[in-house]
């Protein structure tokens, strides 16, 4: 009764299914591209902001610290960081994403240098943590350290955390690794006030260091004025 099997139909259905797959792939690509473009846009925006702040700072020197706006950048860098992290996880570790990540690392370093300069010259209460992690291998301590850092950042808005992938192929990051003598066996690694901390550090550990750093800043200006006068 089943007569002959309609092979043509099996083939047509196969072709329709393939075309649905291609459509899905196309849609997915389209949205991925949109997201990549969004990341690029944010990055360009940040690059302009940093450049502008830098220029503004050079122009005004220490004349008017009031006009130097740094707090703007921080939240944008945060957002960029989160989107890049998500992108790496969900859009695949493509060339484009890793390129964006390099760019992001560079922006972070620039922001770090600029903010450090601003905070020293303008006596802004601030603290900086350089955070080195790895994605090359399963690093459960890095995961925990990230939680610590993000909750610290929420508690202390003056704290700026810059995170770098240890395995990133970027000479600027490699230079920092050399400066602070960070080895891949000691990840996660943190640099707080030029002091290297390796392995996992709890919220309490870091809080102590942070408060010390804030105190130093409060004490320092007086000392500076004394030597100056």
């Amino acid at each position: 009764m089943n007569d002959k099997i309609d092979w043509k139909k099996y083939l047509i259905v196969f072709l329709i299914t393939i075309s649905l797959f291609l459509t899905a792939g196309y849609l997915s690509n389209y949205f991925s591209d949109q997201k990549i473009n969004q990341i690029k846009l944010i990055q360009d925006n940040i690059a302009i902001n940093i450049l502008s702040s830098e220029t503004q700072f050079s122009l005004l020197q220490e004349l008017s610290c009031k006009n130097v706006s740094g707090s703007l950048l921080s939240s944008e860098l945060d957002e960029l960081g989160r989107k890049l992290e998500w992108g790496q996880k969900n859009l695949g570790d493509t060339e484009e994403v890793s390129y964006l990540k390099k760019y992001y690392s560079l922006l972070q370093i620039k922001d770090y240098l600029l903010m450090k300069k601003i905070s020293q010259s303008c006596k802004v209460k601030s603290a900086f943590i350089l955070y080195f992690y790895t994605t090359a291998e399963n690093c459960s301590l890095c995961e925990r350290e990230s939680f610590v850092l993000s909750s610290l950042r929420e508690k202390y808005p003056e704290l700026r955390v810059y995170s770098f992938d240890y395995s990133i192929d970027l000479s600027a990051v490699k230079a920092m690794l050399q400066i602070y003598k960070i080895k891949d066996t000691e990840l996660p690694a943190l640099v707080l006030d030029d002091e290297l901390l390796t392995g996992f550090h709890s919220i309490e550990d870091l809080e102590e260091g942070l408060l010390k750093s804030f105190k130093l800043q409060e004490a320092k200006p007086e000392g500076d004025t004394k030597t100056g006068s």
Binding site: M1, N2, D3, I5, K9, Y10, I12, V13, F14, I16, T17, L20, F21, T23, A24, G25, L27, S28, N29, F31, S32, D33, K35, I36, Q38, R82, K83, W86, N90, L91, G92, T94, E95, E96, V97, S140, E143, R144, F147, V148, S150, S151, E154, S202, I203
Partner: protein
């Protein structure tokens, strides 16, 4: 194409591919045959009214059997051409008393036997059947008055039809679970019709499938069939190239499980039956001489079992991963709520190609339910039952699928209810 998303999970995409393939296959079949789908709303006449025997096996069905028999007596079919056998399969409740009320009807015969399972009751009926047509009716189901004559019209039209299955729909749904099943049964009507066009039906449902008696003379009586005798006989018929038709406008209303536990047991039995009957008839699989049944129906069932199990495994894994990460977070920094989640950003919406494929599949399923309903109720409409079905079955189905696989591995047989 530089950032073409390549998920390393090949199994996942293979399963999605087959799932889409199956749905497209149904849809193409639909567009090929849509003109042949006839829904008759009025009373019809056929030239000859062949005698039919309908067997009602009862096991502890005192609550519904009276109504079931009444629905049979209300059939728009000559009374002298309709023989009804009521078979008490060793009930321990008042079933025997309930069916005794019909003892004075000339066309009703009562039988009482020791409990041996539904297939033994059907076989007892077969043994006493003298008509050319034979059918069963579960004692928890009620037939539409026009159902039998519509079924018989298929036999009249097509002498090669050996069995004709009705459209089974949900009787009087009261709660969420039954309403979800209502949508599911509508999808079943659609799929069964499509399978009939393909000559590939794999179940001749217990409620009111009518057979030519010749089927049993040639192929032998009902078998246990892993508690799904209505599936086993369909497999046997397909193996012997006996044609099974579906009369989409013959309606049978069936009582459906009203609790998750009962639904679980019923489905466990069905899926277990599918797996084990397929194992028993594995020599049919992928053999082109057995037609679309071997190349489409059975592989579809196998793919759905694999897909449901795999997706469930993945969800459990993802959930475990998420919880593990949360636990680590809580243990590291304590409870704290981030403001990020409050402000939704389109950026973080998943746009993997799998997402779109799943959307395609769901669209096909929703179409199937809506069209099935059109065939069953004669109206185009959209009901929230579709969502109850999609959500409830999405959550529950993996449990009976996995348990059925587990039971098969252990060769443990699930009980009837």
């Amino acid at each position: 194409m530089s950032n073409m998303v390549l998920n390393p999970n090949i199994i996942f995409y293979v399963l999605i591919f087959f799932s889409v393939y199956v749905q497209v296959f149904f849809l193409v079949t639909f567009f090929e045959n849509r003109r042949k789908i006839i829904v008759r709303n009025n009373k019809i006449k056929i030239t000859k009214y062949p005698a039919v025997t309908i067997v009602v096996p009862c096991w502890n069905e005192e609550a519904t059997v009276y109504k079931t028999v009444c629905s049979l007596l209300n059939l728009n079919y000559p009374k002298d051409k309709l023989k009804i056998f009521l078979i008490d399969d060793g009930s321990t409740d008042g079933t025997w008393n309930a069916i005794n009320k019909f003892s004075h009807y000339p066309n009703i015969k009562l039988f009482k036997k020791e409990n041996g399972g539904k297939y033994t009751a059907l076989n007892l009926g077969l043994l006493h059947t003298e008509t050319d047509f034979f059918g069963g009716l579960d004692a928890d189901s009620f037939v539409d008055p026009e159902s039998l004559v519509r079924i018989m019209s298929y036999f009249e039209k097509d002498p090669s039809a050996m069995a004709v299955a009705p459209s089974v729909v949900v009787y009087n749904p009261k709660n969420l679970i039954q309403n979800a099943q209502k949508a599911e049964y509508h999808m079943g009507v659609y799929m069964k019709k499509m399978l009939s066009f393909l000559g590939a039906i794999n179940v001749t449902p217990g409620p009111l499938t009518i057979f030519r008696k010749k089927v049993f003379n040639d192929l032998g009586p009902y078998r246990h069939g892993h508690n799904t005798e209505d599936m086993e006989i369909a497999y046997r018929m397909q193996k012997n190239n006996y044609k099974i038709e579906h009369c989409n406008d013959a309606f049978v209303f069936t009582s459906t499980p009203g609790t998750i536990k009962k639904l679980y047991r019923q489905r466990l039995r069905w899926i277990y039956g599918f797996i084990n009957n397929t194992i028993d008839y594995r020599d049919v699989l992928f053999r082109k001489k057995y037609g679309n049944f071997a190349l489409f129906t059975l592989p579809t069932g196998i793919v759905s079992i694999l897909a449901v199990s795999y997706l469930f495994g993945q969800i459990v894994y993802d959930l475990g991963d998420f919880l593990y990460s949360k636990i680590i977070q809580v243990r590291t920094v304590g409870w704290h709520f981030t403001a990020e989640s409050i402000n939704p950003d389109f950026f973080f919406l998943d746009t993997h190609s799998a997402l779109f494929l799943v959307v395609f599949i769901y669209s096909f399923v929703i179409f199937a339910i809506i069209f099935g309903r059109k065939m069953a109720e004669g109206k185009w409409s959209f009901s929230p039952n579709i969502f109850y079905f999609l959500i409830i079955f999405r959550i529950l189905a993996p449990f009976w699928f996995l348990k059925a696989i587990y039971n098969t591995i252990l060769k443990r047989k699930p009980s009837w209810r």
